[in-house]
Amino acid sequence: MSMEEKQNSQTSLDFNQNIFKPTSREEIVEIVKTCYRKNIPLEINGLKSKSKIGRNFQSEKTLDLSDFKGIIDYKPEELYIKVKAGTPLKEIIEELDKNNQQLAFEPNDFGYLFSGESNSGSIGGVVSCNFAGSRRFKVGSVRDHILGFQGINGKGETIKSGGTVVKNVTGYDLSKLISGSFGTLTILTELSIKVLPKPETSKTLIIKNPHLKKALDFLGKALSSSTDPSGGVFYPDYFGKDFVLNDLTHDGGLTAVRIEGPTNSVDQRVNRLSKELGLLDQELSILDNEQSNIFWSRTKNLEVFKKLESNLLRIVLPISETLQVIQKLKSYDIKYFVDWGGSLIWAVFETLNAKILSDIKDIVKKHQGYITLIKIEDDLKASADIFTIDPIKYKISEKIKRSFDPKRIFNPGKMYTGI
């Protein structure tokens, strides 16, 4: 770039606009440098599918990364894809489909919940939120699939960590740190993500059973068996009707366990598992590949909460605690389902206020878990802590935040006050 061009590009930024929609990294750098100099806070957005999650905060300007998109490099045989952070997840999945590959962490699609239709968001948003789907207990979370990234820190410096190879222990693993940081540490520009071949076959064992205790028992046994399941959920009676499929006419409560792999072995493992769980034929249905995929896609999309009016909480617990916690929560007016083989509860609260919220938090904390408020009424949102944190970790988080974003210009207050 000549001196003249450089000056042109530097002056091309119209700083009077409130929404920046950059298409190049250079533009993002310029925006951040200006904001850093002028102490201007930025709200960072991708496709806004999850923008309602997190605390409300004040920001003068918005950085919209939806035009900063595109696949940079996809090497199916090396099992990675490198993309710009604003790339829609949908586009990535379509590209992977062509090579029969997938993102094994099955990110949730929050579009159904917030707007009634699919919006799986941008990959930058998926990584920033780190919400993984039903394969969590087998393949890990989103963060376990990030091989490397490039981002812009709060001073406008371009930084990177990791790379495109799986085995890499060079320096601190910042890919983990930026996953789930809700855009408060860096503006992600490029992401290298591990991809995996799709399993040849997926089948699902459906156990007709409305009882939570029994369901957790089934899930516990299944996950501890050598049949190697890759999904385990429990839907109580009220959600059963959402899953009526050709081979699933039962519309009551159900426990579902997914088995994936080479076709032969899937059949064998499904049979083995149903025997190990001591199930009678009339108690179960088996979903074939196509129906199994529909079932887990509905689960991943949180379709039972389509256009939900009330409050939704996401509760993560050690499996051993789930039964007790749900029993305690039942004293409130809740509807819920259990994912991750018993470790994740999605719970709808018809009524929620500060007192109830504080009581629920105490319960969950006592059982060594945590709550994220996914969707709550605006009045409550203004005052509630969306994420849980203890004072020591708050102090450490504050230091880490400052090390990336010293003037707190990225999504300030989105996670915690003062961060």
Binding site: G140, K167, T227, V316, S343, Q368, K399
Partner: protein, 498 residues
């Protein structure tokens, strides 16, 4: 022995040795503070034996509170601290500094809880990696990451280095198998990251600490996931007429959707050396030899083995053997596991490198290594965790000949630079430590490194915890030593290295 620049020795601290020892004896049981040179000697090096340095003092705390108080004391008095687990690390991560208190965690050697319901084990950090599997195997469980030194290396050290192993292709490295840790920061703060639940909320400090090589905190408790042991494990031993064929076979196996539990390649030099050494029955005429292992249920393993067979034949395999029994499978591995000692027979010394490359670049990188081998006139043998692109060239040299050592170090640095050039990484599983410190600028620019240092300073403002490791001290890419083995004697000759 090679020399390496370390942080400036603080003479004020050196002169206060007796006072510091006295103070520390006031904090912990006095017999757990070692100050006599004879007592300090065993701690002068770790698995990277080319570098040795006696510490000022050694402390052996017994509780997390003691760790906290020692760190707090050292922080307030500006005394450097180097944490150490089993001391098997290959990159010098726990090599002492002259003016440091070496914190040996050996007394944290108990498993605290086995929790089958949540499928995890809570343990103290100096329990060995293999001891965790031993503790749960009667119930049919195991801990998946398996660094080759697993009989001796500590789980806390595994966390600090983010250790991998043969099976990390399918099951991930330490970071993917960890649920929680308890950590003490340099200012004495005790905190827990993660727990028994699958995720923790907020910034992923668990992920940040894992692989931070003892620079950010001292690990005092670890919670790991345990998995149900696979029912069936089978391996295939395949010979290829060229490295290219072997490389293509690996890529195709992966692309076909088979994820093996482990997939190893050795070049002709190493195949011959290991076969002579261990009589493993390897095809010594092959230019490359591959061991590929699958685990799971019987049908699953069978399906993958059949697919592998077809792919191997398509890629011109010259020989193919499938294990018929567990004994035979272990025999396949025996040769591979003897790769290091086998090299010890071929030359007075060898240096083990640890670069990571894209799978598809295997042939290109091996050709470059062979070109460099001619250039430096030093023989080399190559072992490769092919599935995940982790390359371990073993450079043979004679450390008594200074020129030979210098050439070897230069050769090693050239290999690692080439790994980075083709899109790989400086280290796949051994860590940066002091060994690859000065090469960091090959992989990162100043801004990248500065960002990492800012994190370090945020948690340890005086840079007292394990200073001089990971990040370059010199502002140049100096070539320094690697894993150096003299006369076939590693620091721990009984520990398999592969």
């Amino acid at each position: 022995m090679s020399t390496l620049q370390m942080p400036k020795v603080d003479n004020a601290i050196m002169s206060k040795k007796d006072k510091i020892a006295l103070d520390l004896r006031g904090i912990i049981n006095s017999k757990n503070v070692l100050s006599n040179p004879d007592e300090l000697r065993p701690f002068e090096t770790d698995g990277l034996t080319a570098y040795r340095q006696m510490p000022l003092l050694v402390v052996m705390p017994e509780t997390v509170e003691e760790v906290s108080q020692i760190l707090k004391y050292c922080n307030e008095n500006k005394v450097k601290v180097v944490p150490r687990g089993a001391g098997t690390g290959l990159s010098g991560g726990s090599m002492p500094l002259e003016d440091c208190v070496l914190m040996a965690m050996g007394k944290f050697n108990k498993i605290i809880e086995i929790d089958y319901e949540n499928r995890c084990v809570v343990t103290q950090p100096c329990v060995t990696n293999l001891a965790i599997t031993h503790a749960v195997q009667d119930k049919g469980f195991y801990y998946a990451p398996d660094p080759s030194s697993q009989i001796a290396c500590s789980i806390g050290g595994n966390v600090a280095e983010n250790s991998g192993g043969v099976h990390s292709l399918k099951y991930g490295a330490t970071t993917n198998n960890l649920l929680g840790i308890e950590v003490v920061l340099m200012d004495g703060t005790i905190t827990k990251f993660g727990g028994k639940a699958m995720d923790a909320e907020g910034y992923d400090f668990l992920g940040l600490m894992t692989g931070s090589e003892g620079l950010l905190g001292v690990i005092t408790e670890v919670t790991v996931k345990i998995l149900k042991s696979p029912e069936v494990v089978k391996a295939a031993l395949v010979g290829f007429p060229s490295i290219e064929d072997a490389g293509n076979c690996v890529a195709e196996i992966i692309a076909e959707g088979c994820i093996p539990a482990g997939m190893e390649i050795m070049d002709k030099a190493l195949t011959k050396a290991t076969n002579d050494y261990s009589k493993a029955g390897y095809p010594t005429d092959a230019e490359a030899m591959m061991i590929v292992e699958f685990d799971g249920t019987e049908h699953e393993v069978e399906a993958y083995i059949q697919k592998t067979k077809k792919i191997a034949e398509k890629n011109n395999s010259s020989s193919l053997k499938i294990s018929k029994s567990n004994e035979e499978r272990l025999k396949f591995w025996a040769g591979r596991k003897a790769a290091f000692p086998a090299c010890g027979v071929l030359a007075p010394d060898y240096m083990c490198m640890d670069g990571s490359i894209p799978r598809g670049k295997l042939a290109e990188v091996l050709n470059e290594i062979s070109r460099l081998s001619k250039k430096y006139n030093l023989p080399v043998a190559n072992a490769f965790h092919a599935g995940d692109g982790n390359l371990h060239p073993l450079i043979m040299f004679d450390a008594n000949d200074k020129e030979s050592l210098r050439k070897c170090e230069e050769f090693g640095a050239d290999i690692l630079k080439y790994c980075v050039k083709v899109g790989g990484a400086l280290t796949g599983e051994h860590g940066v430590g002091i060994e690859k410190r000065e090469l960091m600028c090959e992989a990162f620019n100043d801004k990248d490194i500065q960002q990492q240092l800012t994190i370090k300073v945020a948690l340890d403002p005086n840079s007292l915890l394990n200073p001089g490791k990971v990040y370059p001290i010199l502002r140049k890419c100096a070539e320094e030593g690697r894993v150096h083995v003299h006369g076939g004697k590693t620091k721990f000759p009984d520990i398999p290295r592969f």
